[in-house]
Subunit: 137 residues, 2 copies
DNA sequence: TCAACAGTTTAGAACTATTATAATGTAGAA
DNA sequence: TTCTACATTATAATAGTTCTAAACTGTTGA
């Protein structure tokens, strides 16, 4: 709520102007104890609950993309009708509940490091992600 | 080309009527030495090269979904503007070239089995997939 | 053999997540 | 304060996918 100067600094130091829309979105995304996963639609709902000043859909998309580019958000590779984003930018993997359409973090300690013993010449690895799809037992 | 009776049997035995559209799509997808990845758009192009009788887009979607449901195709989890499918239904993982937007199989022997030491109560594992994103070095 | 029916194909409309546009507004520098 | 590049916004456009409902066809069994 109060300590927005932190977000203002963060935004400014990454070359993003600290507009009131971006600060509000920072509050919603990063003022939480726990990290979480969200879709653009989820975020729009959170925003409308959190404030009376509405933020346009275009700005929500712009901001999420800007934050992703700066490394403040990750996008989770999943086949879905919409993109999932993650406020947890540390290295970790996911369960995807196909019934509830819900992403769940897998603690990195619970996955043995993935060893890939082959490379593509001329390419460097950007990320290695495990997706465990689950369904009702 | 000739040996369509195999596909006819395959389709019939899985409860799908062997229509000429489905048989043609079987030929295109499964009459190859190597397995491959494709988007719906890729498949539409392959079809128009392979035949004069056009197959409607709706049928292409219907057929791919039906084949996926029967386990003849897999969908690859990826963030993209379109879905990727795989004629290789055996267990394996992927590189995704973000520059070329190309999927590349990783031989299963080149990846140590992924050990996930946690479960979700009431859920069973459907798949465990590794996606290695690569980019120009 | 062939009528009947359920399954299938089809063109086109509808849907929906996302991106583009271009006018208006604003943060920060000078 | 003034200027300008950056940002927001409403809205249109785009594009992949799904839906609709009419026409068509493979299969069954009388
Ligand atoms: Mn959710
Ligand atoms: Mn391709
Ligand atoms: Zn996560
Ligand atoms: Zn593959």
């Amino acid at each position: 709520m109060l300590n927005n100067s932190h977000y203002i600094d963060k935004l400014r130091s990454s070359g993003l102007r600290p507009t009131k829309q971006r600060i509000k979105i920072c509050e919603i995304l990063f003022n939480t104890e726990k990290t979480f996963h969200f879709t653009i639609n989820d975020l729009v709902k959170k925003i409308s609950k959190a404030t009376n000043d509405k933020i346009s859909l275009a700005t929500v998309y712009n901001t999420v993309h800007a934050f992703k580019k700066k490394g403040y958000l990750k996008e989770i590779p999943i086949n879905s009708d919409q993109s999932y984003f993650d406020t947890n930018t540390s290295h970790h993997h996911h369960f995807y509940d196909e019934n509830q359409k819900d992403l769940i973090d897998i603690d990195d300690a619970d996955v043995e490091p993935v060893k890939v013993n082959t490379r593509i010449p001329g390419k460097k690895i950007k990320s290695v992600e495990v997706l465990v799809k689950v369904e009702d037992a």
